[in-house]
Each structure stands twice: as structure tokens, then as C-alpha cells.
């Protein structure tokens, strides 16, 4: 009852304010009049009666204000008043407001964009049922050569895991590769993911039509079956529901369609079609080529699962321990999300840290600006306090203004963050992030709101603390306020932000140096004038080595016929790409009997000529090196140096009697053997395509799509169409998946480094900009505050130049202090970057010199520009003022 009455009155007080006010005024006035009447009746004169009545009443306005303060809804009313006053104050000061909002928008926007990636990668739950019960398998080695990473399985490990870990539903993926799908007359290049029987069970995805693979279909030499993605089923097969049970031609063979995935179903591979992996201890199962994914069965725990994994693979662990005394190998499960993002996490967290730096820098700037603004408003506040405003009211007003500013900045920040995120995602290569989409969801918006509130507290604290010591009398008396301690405070803020900027600049400088190093490595071949194209030979027709040889012969011959083409060749892989790794035994030479690992690829005779890879010794392959002639190989310079130091490898033999006939120059590639850098050259064995192991051929073609390479002397009109025609002339149902220039391949390999440079560079640039604004504002403010002092100095004989130096010095000193602090911070902080730097040390003198140079020039500009005003100061006018 009481509450309802108060609520209705409160609403009336707020929304029908005018009426309420008129009534209050009437009531008070009538009271004064009644009192006056009584005084007159008691014998006073009219004027005296009114004066006495007013005195006795105690002030009409004060009584009315007392009523207003106690009325229902007074708090909201006051808040509204303060908000309006705050908004007016901000509008009065458009320079300050715009600077603050742009600063906040940029810094909050950067944080919003990076956080939405953190959110998508690490916080949002995966798009599967009960993702917390899903996991991947890790291998940990403790000892002299520690290692802790996701592990790939071989066929033996898979069988042991499948049969001895009852707590888990286990499944394998053999990777995704391009295959040819024939639908009607057309052949399409689609992505095929090879998965084991229970893979979709682990993901908890049930086909919308048909069923998952059975164990029978996943056995070696089991029937050929396929499950289609919803997109392929719709786009290529017109969403035909009777497709289940029918046969499609995939990889040159008939496959029975047994299922179609539901619309929007997300799988880690995002393939168009799924075929049974049929894992065994042979073929691909001889090496660690399978990725496992597991789901915990109901009632089981991860501890049980880990114990079972440990038992299943105990023999392998024991074998490792006996070969590597002092080291211990263990396998264990890791939650899927953590396992999937293991590589990205440190990078994303580093970016989050950089974004946090930006926020701190922005707050330091705003705190400085807000402090100056506060000091300028001291007389106003002193007046308000003299008129009866409490300290609490003044503080409240300040905080409300800060909050308003932070919320406006946050709103602008969401917009900036959205734009930045879209830009960022367009930079990333396809399928780079292991999540389907990155969105600004409720969690991101909540984060942005929290960040905005934090900033308002961070930059509002300083001015609020400063007003606590406001002395009424002295503030009213003097019109200028310039405390030395406030300058010191602002200088420390600037120094702090410059220090953080130095760290960001140095970090991005090192990444730029890394990228330059990688891009300017001697490639070992000539990339200009080369066009490449890939086609899938994971095809039943090309398991026959004779058909494979015929295809290569005919297509390269046809491509050489294209006018303007100098040479054409085929290779399993190209420079910059990841290669196949294989094991060899050295039959003779200084390391005779040694088993080694090396990169391996088959090439046609024209490969070295087409790419212009220099021959150093012996010969390259010729058309005479055929399937029945003496097996030969060509090795690269790294191979020769490492295994035949000080002598020529030509004439030495590897296993199966293959004779080394030539040595070629090293090329840059993306290592799968011993990756220590994104691009490097390592021991490589080239094998003639005609002599490549026919058993291995089919397996290798499920992993790699070989490349056709042509060299032209000048740009050729319609080259790609003519290349496709040349391929079709040999096999009408073989499409190229795409065409790439060599620089395009290099860009693809170095995409990660480019993104790192772009992101950290953008952050460092932003930090530099904010610091420059901070220094500029400090000096500009000094000039304004000290106009009078400078006028006196000039009047007393100081030159304009000296006065400029005097005014700019505090900014320069703050920046110098920040630079020194930043360099000290770099000494500790940059060490964590060691793993992403190539060709440049952590303490790179050139980078640090560049950072110092950039910072010094920016400081010079930021301190000089605002002091240019001094030249226009006329001592006479300045001194006459006040």
C-alpha cells in the first residue's frame, strides 16, 4: 500500500513536474499570506508584517527545496539533473570530449576485436553436444628433450587404443584432401575427409538422412561408402532424398552414398564429403598419420581414460624409455577446445596483452586530460561549494561525467571493434581459426561494457582524488591553478604510456624484421614467370604406375606446346610447400649404414629446368630414367653437406640400390621434418616420377595433390585455360583445383607471420599515436597555463626559442624517462618472443635503434608543434591581461 502510493506519487513528481511545482508554490505562498494576515491583524503595518512573516517562515525557496529533496523519486530526478549537466559540460568542451571519445573508441575497439577472438576460441562452447566430454590425445616427453604436444597415431597404436580403452569412444581422422567427384558429365574438385567408423558418433552428429559408417565399412578392403555434407547434397545433387543407397563416382571409383549430414553440422574438417578411413597397420598406418579424437562414455572419468590409454600404449612408452635413458614418455587426454587451440592460445593471449596495454595508455592520456580539465574547473567547483553544494555532490557530478564519457566511448568502441574484427577476419587465411565464426555476442558486449566502466574508473580516479584536497578559499581567490605536483603526476603518466609504447614498438619491429628476413631468403629457384596448378591423383585410375606415367608424359608435352611456354614439369610438391618425409638408409660413404630422415618428392625430368633450380654436380633426370632402368636420385646441397661432408655424393647409393646422380641447390620450403622456422631448406631427395615406389604412390596421393609447373618467357594470355585444356587433352575428367603463382605460395606459407606483423604493428601504431597525443596535450596545456610566465620571460629578454625549449622540456623529459623505462622493460619482456623470431635476435640493435629514432622524432613533433604558439605571444598584451 505504502510502496504503491509512493511509486504513483514518484511517477507524478517526475512526469507531471510542472503541475506539482505550481501546487507547491501555491501552498507555500498561501501559508506566507496567512501568516502576514495574522501579523497585520496583530497590528503591524503591511510591509513589516510581510517581512516578519517571511523571516519567521524561514525562506520560501529553502522550504520548497527541502520539500523537493524529500519527495518520492528525488534520487532519480537528481541523477537526471546531473546527467543533463554532465552532457552540457561535455558539449561545452567539444575538443576534450571528441579526443576522449576517439581515444576510447580506438582502445576499446581494439580490445573488443581481440576479445571476440579469445571468446570464440577459448570461452564459447564448441558446437557439439557435451563438448566437455570430448578430447584429443597428447604426448609428453620429460627429460633432456622435453616435448608436450598433440600426437598423431600409427595403425598399431590405433588398434591398441580401440581395443583397450573401454571408457572412450575413439575415432580417427586421416586428414582432408582434394578429390575428383563425378556428378553427371561434370567432374568437380571437392574436399574429402577420411574418417573412421565412429568419428561422427564422437562429434555426436547424426546424419539427417541415412546413417554413419559401420565397423564393417571401416575395415581394409571394406565396401566403398560415402557420407555427403548438406551443402554438397543440396548444391550438386539437388537435395535428392533418394540418393541414399545410390552410387556416385568419387576418386574414379563407385561409392555408395549412405548418409547426408544435417544442415549447419560443424565438423573440424569442414569437408564436402566423408569417406571411411579404413585404418590398418599397413600403408598410411605404417607411420603416425592419424589424428585421434575421443569422447568419454557415460559414467567414465578422464582419470580412468588416461589410465587405459597408458596401459594400451605401455609397450611403446617402455620402448621409448629403453632407447632414451633419462627420458619418460606418457600419453594423456586433453579437452578438445584446449587441444585445438594449443598453438594459437599464446599468440592470442599476447595480443590480448597488447590490447590491454593500449587501454592503459588510453586511460593514462584521459586521466591527464581529465585532470587538466578538473583543475580548470576548480573555480566553478569552489563557487558551487560556496553556494552549498556538498563535496559528495561535486564528486558525484564528476563521476557521472566520466561514466557518460566512458559509455559513449564504449558505444563507439563496439562500432570500431566490429569494423576491426571484420578487417582482421578478412586478413586471416581460410580455415585458419578452428571455429566456424567469430561474432560479437552477449559475452563480448558485456566485456566491452565492463572495460568501459573500468576505464571510467581508471581515468576518473585521478581528478576525483585531486578534488578531495580542494581548498575553498585559495581556489576562489586565485584564478590560475598550476601545482608542481600535478605536473609531476602528468609526466609520470606520460612516461608510463611511452614505456608501454616502446615495448609494443620493439615487439612489432622484431616481427617486421622476421618477416623481411623470411621474404628475402634466397629462394634457390627463380619464381618469376612460373605458373602452377594442382590436380588430385587420389584416383583409382592412377594407382596403376603406367597410367600415372602416361598422364605426366602427355600433359607436360601438351603444356610445352602452349605458345610462350618455355618448359613444363610435374612435381609432388613445390618450393615453399610442406613435403613428404621418408626414411632412407645410406649404403656407403662416410655414414654408411646410417638410417636418416629426409624430405622426398617425385619430379618429372623438366622440374629443375622449369623452376631454374641450379644443378651443382652431376646430372638431373632425363627421359631415359624409366621404371626398368637403374634407380637414380638427385639430392640437394644440404643433403650432400650433412651426409657426405667434404666429398661428392655423386655415385653413392641409398637403399634399394638408388644411385645419387646429381646435386642441386637448396630451395626454401615449409618443413615437416624438423620445423625450426616457417621457411627453411633441409635435406631433400628427388626421385624420378617414373621410378617412384608404386605401393607408396596411392598413399602419397591421398595426402598430396601434385603440381603442374610451367615457365613462360613473357605473360601469356589465357595461360590457365590453356593449361586446363592441356590436362583435359590427356584426361577429360581431371580438373585443376586452382592456379597459384610462386609468390602466392610464399604468401600462403608466411600468412601467419604477415598477420602477426599486421596486428601487432597496428597496435604499436595506435600506442604511438596515443602517446603522441598525450605528450602534445601536456605541452599544449603547459603553454596555455604559463602564457603569463612566458610573457614575462620574453619581456625580461628570453628569446622565443629559449621559451619554446622551456615549455616543451617537461614533455620531452617525460618521453625520455618513458623511453628508458621501456627499454628496460624490453630486456625482460621480449624474451618471450624468441619462439616466433627467425633471422633476428631478441636484442636486435637495429630494431631498438629504430624504436628510439621513431620515438625521438614523434616526441620532437609532439613537443614542438604546441610550442609554436609561443612565437605569437605578445608580452605586452599578456602582461596587461588580468
Amino acid at each position: 500500500m505504502k510502496l504503491r502510493s509512493q511509486l504513483s506519487h514518484g511517477l507524478k513528481n517526475i512526469f507531471r513536474k510542472k503541475q506539482v511545482e505550481v501546487q507547491l508554490d501555491d501552498e507555500v505562498r498561501s501559508c506566507v499570506e496567512i501568516l502576514t494576515d495574522q501579523k497585520i491583524a496583530a497590528g503591524m503595518s503591511a510591509g513589516e508584517a510581510r517581512r516578519t512573516a517571511l523571516v519567521e517562515f524561514g525562506g520560501v525557496e529553502q522550504v520548497k527545496q527541502a520539500v523537493r529533496d524529500h519527495r518520492a523519486g528525488a534520487g532519480i530526478e537528481l541523477l537526471w539533473q546531473d546527467l543533463r549537466l554532465g552532457a552540457r559540460q561535455l558539449l561545452h568542451n567539444p575538443g576534450f570530449t571528441a579526443t576522449a571519445i576517439v581515444t576510447l573508441a580506438l582502445s576499446i575497439g581494439a580490445n573488443t576485436a581481440i576479445f571476440s577472438i579469445v571468446n570464440a576460441l577459448m570461452l564459447k562452447s564448441l558446437p557439439y553436444a557435451h563438448p566437455e566430454r570430448m578430447g584429443v590425445l597428447f604426448m609428453r616427453v620429460v627429460g633432456s628433450d622435453p616435448f608436450d604436444r598433440q600426437t598423431a597415431l600409427d595403425g598399431e597404436q590405433w588398434e591398441l587404443l580401440r581395443d583397450n580403452a573401454p571408457s572412450l569412444i575413439s575415432a580417427l581422422s586421416g586428414g582432408t584432401s582434394g578429390v575428383n567427384l563425378q556428378a553427371g558429365p561434370h567432374v568437380q574438385y571437392v574436399h574429402d575427409a577420411r574418417i573412421s567408423a565412429h568419428y561422427l558418433d564422437v562429434l555426436a552428429i547424426a546424419p539427417v538422412l541415412g546413417r554413419n559408417f559401420t565397423d564393417e565399412e571401416d575395415r581394409p578392403r571394406g565396401p566403398n561408402t560415402a557420407i555427403l555434407s548438406n551443402g554438397l547434397w543440396r548444391n550438386t545433387f539437388g537435395a535428392d532424398p533418394s540418393l541414399i543407397g545410390q552410387t556416385i563416382r568419387l576418386k574414379g571409383e563407385p561409392f555408395t552414398v549412405i548418409g547426408v549430414l544435417p544442415e549447419g553440422a560443424v565438423t573440424p574438417s569442414n569437408a564436402d564429403v566423408f569417406t571411411a578411413l579404413k585404418p590398418s597397420r599397413e600403408g598410411a598406418g605404417e607411420g603416425s598419420n592419424f589424428d585421434a579424437i575421443v569422447r568419454l562414455r557415460g559414467g567414465a572419468t578422464w582419470q580412468q581414460a588416461d589410465a587405459e590409454i597408458d596401459r594400451a600404449w605401455a609397450a611403446r612408452e617402455a620402448g621409448f624409455a629403453s632407447k632414451n635413458p633419462g627420458s619418460r614418455l606418457t600419453f594423456y587426454s586433453v579437452p578438445l577446445q584446449k587441444g585445438q587451440t594449443q598453438e594459437l592460445r599464446p599468440k592470442v593471449l599476447a595480443l590480448m596483452l597488447a590490447a590491454g596495454f593500449i587501454l592503459l595508455i588510453a586511460c593514462a592520456n584521459l586521466a591527464g586530460l581529465a585532470l587538466v580539465r578538473m583543475l580548470r574547473r576548480t573555480p566553478e567547483m569552489a563557487t558551487r561549494m560556496a553556494l552549498g553544494a556538498s563535496r559528495w555532490q561535486i564528486q558525484r557530478q564528476l563521476w557521472i561525467e566520466n561514466l557518460l564519457l566512458a559509455l559513449l566511448g564504449g558505444l563507439a568502441g563496439v562500432g570500431a571493434g566490429f569494423a576491426a574484427l571484420r578487417g582482421l577476419l578478412s586478413l586471416l587465411p581460410e580455415d585458419y581459426l578452428p571455429v566456424a565464426s567469430v561474432t560479437l555476442d552477449a559475452r563480448v558486449l558485456a566485456f566491452t561494457l565492463a572495460v568501459s566502466l573500468c576505464t571510467s574508473i581508471l581515468f576518473g580516479m585521478l581528478p576525483a582524488l585531486a578534488t578531495r584536497r580542494l581548498d575553498l578559499r585559495s581556489s576562489l581567490a586565485s584564478r590560475t591553478v598550476a601545482g608542481g605536483d600535478r605536473l609531476r603526476l602528468r609526466q609520470s603518466l606520460i612516461a608510463g604510456e611511452v614505456a608501454l609504447t616502446v615495448v609494443l614498438l620493439a615487439a612489432s619491429g622484431l616481427l617486421i624484421r622476421t618477416l623481411i628476413h623470411l621474404e628475402t631468403l634466397p629462394p634457390g629457384f627463380t619464381s618469376a614467370g612460373v605458373m602452377t596448378a594442382k590436380a588430385s591423383l587420389d584416383d583409382a585410375r592412377y594407382r596403376d604406375p603406367a597410367a600415372f606415367r602416361k598422364l605426366l608424359d602427355e600433359t607436360t608435352a601438351a603444356m610445352r606446346q602452349i605458345p610462350g611456354v618455355e618448359n613444363a614439369a610435374v612435381g609432388l610438391t613445390l618450393p615453399y610447400e610442406r613435403t613428404l618425409n621418408d626414411g632412407f638408409t645410406l649404403r656407403d660413404g662416410p655414414n654408411a649404414g646410417k638410417q636418416i630422415g629426409a624430405d622426398e618428392l617425385y619430379v618429372t625430368p623438366g622440374y629443375f629446368d622449369t623452376l631454374k633450380i641450379q644443378l651443382l654436380q652431376g646430372r638431373v633426370f632425363t627421359a631415359e630414367d624409366g621404371p626398368t632402368t637403374q634407380p637414380v636420385v638427385v639430392v640437394n646441397r644440404s643433403f650432400a653437406r650433412k651426409f657426405y661432408p667434404g666429398e661428392s655424393p655423386v655415385g653413392h647409393t641409398l637403399d634399394k640400390g638408388a644411385v645419387i646422380v646429381g646435386v642441386v641447390n637448396d630451395v626454401q620450403l615449409s618443413s615437416g621434418l624438423n620445423p625450426i622456422a616457417p621457411l627453411q631448406s633441409e635435406e631433400t631427395v628427388y626421385i624420378p616420377a617414373t621410378q617412384f615406389d608404386s605401393k607408396l604412390l596411392a598413399v602419397v596421393h591421398t595426402w598430396f595433390q601434385p603440381s603442374w609447373v610451367v615457365r613462360t618467357s613473357a605473360p601469356v594470355e589465357g595461360l590457365t585455360q590453356q593449361m586446363q585444356r592441356a590436362l583435359s587433352s590427356a584426361d577429360a575428367s581431371l580438373p585443376f583445383s586452382g592456379f597459384y603463382s610462386m609468390s602466392g605460395l610464399m604468401d600462403k606459407t608466411l600468412a601467419m607471420q604477415r598477420i602477426e606483423v599486421a596486428l601487432l604493428g597496428a597496435m604499436a601504431g595506435l600506442a604511438l599515436l596515443l602517446s603522441a597525443v598525450g605528450i602534445f596535450a601536456l605541452v599544449a596545456n603547459m603553454v596555455v597555463q604559463r602564457t603569463r610566465e612566458i610573457g614575462i620571460r620574453i619581456a625580461l629578454g628570453s628569446s622565443v626559442h629559449q621559451a619554446m625549449v622551456h615549455a616543451g622540456a617537461p614533455g620531452a623529459r617525460a618521453s625520455a624517462a618513458g623511453l628508458v623505462t621501456g627499454l628496460i622493460l624490453c630486456a625482460g619482456a621480449l624474451r618471450v618472443m624468441r619462439s616466433v623470431l627467425y633471422g633476428v635476435g631478441v636484442y636486435d640493435a637495429a630494431t631498438l635503434a629504430a624504436v628510439v629514432l621513431v620515438l625521438v622524432s614523434v616526441t620532437l613533433v609532439a613537443t614542438t608543434v604546441p610550442t609554436l604558439r609561443i612565437a605569437r605571444i605578445d608580452p605586452a598584451t599578456t602582461l596587461r591581461e588580468e
Binding site: K2, Q6, S30, C31, E33, Q62, H70, R71, A72
Partner: protein, 110 residues
Amino acid sequence: MSQNQTNLLQGTLDLLILKALGTGELHGLGISRRIEQITRGTFQVKPGSLFPALHRMEEAGWLSSFWGESENNRRAKFYRLTKAGKGQLGVETEQWQKVSAAMTNALRAT
């Protein structure tokens, strides 16, 4: 106004206003005079305290107001107790008597 005027205890003002209106409707000044009268001059309620209290009690639903004519034909805002106000008067009277008796006993004890 005398300096040594007895200060109103917290909550006393509400009770005094309710009591003053217990005998019938009054305008603001009338309430203040009536309080002075029934407390025999001990409490003089200033307009700065009275009016906020009246508005607050009206918002709480204990009082209702209307415009009427004063004794010398001036337009004035009159207040009277609502049903809830009469109930509140009973509740607060009882509470006050309890407190008063307790205080008297406490001060009498040796």
C-alpha cells in the same frame, strides 16, 4: 526562535502531525500551531521541516490534501488523515507509549 528549543526526536514529527490531524483537517500553518498548542509550546515545527514531512506522509498514503478556504478567506491547502493514516496513528501511538514507559522506567531505576 529560541536556541534551547527541544529537538524533535527522530520519528516524533510524524506522530505529532498525525495526532494534530486526529481531530480534523488543517492547513500547514494550522498544523504547526496545533502542535505547539498540544505540546504546550514545547515543540515549534519550522516550515522547513513541516512541509517536507507533510509531502512525504501524503506520498506514503497517510494524508490526503485538498484546497479550501482558511479562517480569513484565503485559499489554502488542507490536510486530513486517510484510513491508512488513522491506522498509522494507532501503531505509532502504541510504539511511542512502549518506548516512553521503558525510558521512564529506565530513568527511575537506581
